[in-house]
Amino acid sequence: MVIESAPDFETQDLLINVGPQHPSTHGVFRMILEVDGEIVKDLIPHIGYLHRGAEKLCENNDFRQGVGYMDRTEYLASHNAELSYVMAVEALAELEVPERAQWIRMILCELNRLSSHFMFLGAFGVDVGVFGTPFIYAWREREALIDLFEEISGDRMMYAYFRAGGLAWEVPGNFEERVREVLVSTRQGMKDFDNLLTRNEIFLARTKNVGIISAEDAIELGMSGPTLRASGVPLDIRKSEPYMYYDQIDFEVPIGTNGDVFDRYLVRLKEMEQSVSIIEQCLERLNDGPIMPERMPRMLRLPEGQEVYIRTEAPRGEYGIYLVSKGGNKPWRLKVRSACLSNLQALRKMSVGQYVADAIIILGSIDIVLSEVDR
């Protein structure tokens, strides 16, 4: 008996579209997964769903109005985004920021780093698959921080509180007590997360040795922030190019060893402890004084033909502002160097060869903010 050859079947890889309306794409990110069973063979990211032209908009607004657009590029860490912008303007205008304003800025930026990382922890917990618990834990702590921001700036997300030269107005009288009060609950919240996730067997099984990226690759791709430090590169702009008064503060830079998802999680958790200690040190050094330079022009005009690139360490990495002035009260060109966009480049490299479920948590571990990626 002759066995007939089976008809020619061709095995095709399955294309899955994830996003832009998917619960775990953190906004409107879209990726197309090419999967063979459960293994990701290829990953094509698509961005641009949230492009608003924030940089171009800034060119048509004066320097004070630009602060508002910076808030909206990085809505989870608005203070940090504002900081880069006002520092760029100050550098061109050669403004001297009063000491008190600098300390308050530092405190607010670190508090914002805490709230942003809480957001990461909560969303990441949901990505890994805990039903809601880490999210609510994170929300509880973030709520306390955001209430504080609201008391200071009047807004919960889009603060628009920093000004070129200093701050918009003086902080409330009970600022110091309130910050100390919030830090107590923040500490407890970090401890809760440590208990809930860090030593959880299933969490370890899911995150360890998943989505590894080596230090060389991370540097080549231009990654920065916790995602870079998790790969073992001790680059922190607060250390390498201290701005404001970070050189007077004693803090450590946690770095990972493996560059896997777990390290990216743990680096952020450890970084939060450092942030708390930075804030406490800042509070000790905070003294009375003016919050704006004594001689501020009514309308800020920058000198002609100058350009500057200022970068700061935002929660997600290097947040840079490239500002070109050709005179007048508006920037001629403004470019935001987004940490998320660069970090996102590593997604494909990290995800190919992993499982579908891993691709989701790898994306979560990069901690993107889509409005910063697309701007």
Binding site: P23, G129, V130, T133, T198, E201, R206, V253, Y355
Partner: protein, 374 residues
């Protein structure tokens, strides 16, 4: 054998009445379970849960049900109409069939079957077909992946579940649930079979597709898996089946491991007390499952398969062998307790070894001080 609780001697009429009672009970219990789960999870997460519908939110499930009934019944254009529309029933009916053998109290079940446990296992595993049908018929790639995952998971965890029930049946020397309950009137089976109890709970979680084994429906990955295209009343059927399966698994747990209505107050108890006992034991199991849901992440599909085939299945086989040896040579039963406890330790060690290559998490972690950073 079965003379009818209300003095009704016609067998089929008796069965029909009992089935109707079961249907009503199941619906009410499922609604209650959904409410309780929402409240319990909310407490774990420092929320309040439903509060607005009725006193303390008690009518939330009713409101949800009404909303679901009122929703449009959608079917994707390219879906396979028969497969798509039959799938909810294929999930629901097997779960419902399982209630036939469950003893709520002495003499209170639809039918006493000599092979009750086998019947339960057979019906509960039929539900997988419905999952695969839903996944395949929806013409949606998330649904298809979810359906395939459900099939793989269901087949893998069926084996430890069956073997764990078999090893209990060996100790009780019966497959009849009534006899199993009666045999535990002095000591419950969990005393002799602690390892099997743990494995039953784990495999039960996987069978029910609950966290940490909710891979087929993993919301952050496949967005609800096979159910992604369902809406309205069809979707609510899946929901009903899910919670009914949870309830029935709790009842089986109570009957097989905790001594059902017989332990610890003896079998001559009033019917009300018996029902209360079963309810308490079932609630214990269900609460445990809710608790687990609030605190652990989801496993990955390969880890899930490896866990079943490499850890759970060998351990249950060993337990069955030990059971056999002890029963054949009439050795005292406490040997089983010791081996079971040893088995739990082995299980925990195996899990730890699989997960933790290093003794402590933080030892690999370094911080760079003021000088070190560049």
């Amino acid at each position: 054998m079965n003379n009818g609780i209300y003095g009704i001697e016609i067998a089929w009429l008796d069965a029909v009445i009992r089935l109707h009672i079961i249907v009503g009970l199941m619906t009410v219990v499922v609604m209650g379970l959904i409410y309780v789960e929402r409240k319990v999870l909310a407490r774990f997460q420092q929320r309040l849960g439903p509060t607005r519908t009725g006193p303390a939110g008690l009518l939330q499930s009713v409101a949800d049900g009404l909303k679901l009934v009122g929703k449009e019944d959608l079917r994707p254009r390219n879906a396979d109409p028969w497969t798509f529309e039959l799938a909810p029933y294929m999930v629901f009916i097997p779960v419902f069939l399982g209630f036939v053998i469950v003893p709520f109290a002495f003499g209170m079940q639809v039918r006493i079957l000599e092979l009750g446990l086998i019947y339960f296992v057979a019906t509960s595993s039929l539900g997988i077909i419905g999952w695969v049908m839903a996944g395949w018929g929806s013409d949606n790639r998330y649904a298809m992946i979810g359906g395939m995952r459900a099939a793989a998971q269901g087949i893998s965890y069926e084996l430890p579940l069956v073997l764990s029930l078999i090893s209990v049946a060996m100790v009780s020397q019966s497959f009849n649930l009534n006899d199993i309950v009666l045999s535990q009137s002095t000591y419950p089976n969990l005393l002799w079979q602690p390892l099997v109890l743990v494995i039953f709970i784990i495999a039960g979680l996987a069978e029910l597709n609950r966290t940490p084994f909710d891979i087929p429906v993993g919301e952050s990955e496949v967005v609800g898996g096979p159910f992604v295209e369902y809406s309205g009343i069809r979707w609510s059927f899946f929901f009903l089946a899910e919670y009914a399966a949870l309830f029935i698994m709790g009842l089986i747990f109570a009957a097989v491991f905790m001594g059902g209505w017989a332990w610890p107050l003896g079998e001559e108890l009033g019917r009300g007390w018996q029902i209360l006992l079963v309810t308490v034991k079932t609630s214990l199991f269900i609460f445990l499952i809710f608790w687990i849901r609030a605190s652990v992440p989801r496993l990955r599909i390969d880890q899930l398969m490896a866990f079943s085939w490499k850890i759970l299945l060998p351990l249950t086989f060993v337990q069955v062998l030990i059971n056999g040896a002890v029963l054949v040579y009439d050795a005292p039963l406490w040997i089983l307790t010791i081996t079971g406890l040893v088995g739990i330790v082995v299980l925990v060690r195996l899990i730890e070894r699989a997960v933790r290559p290093s003794p402590a998490v933080n030892s690999e972690f370094v911080s760079v001080g003021n000088e070190g950073a560049s």
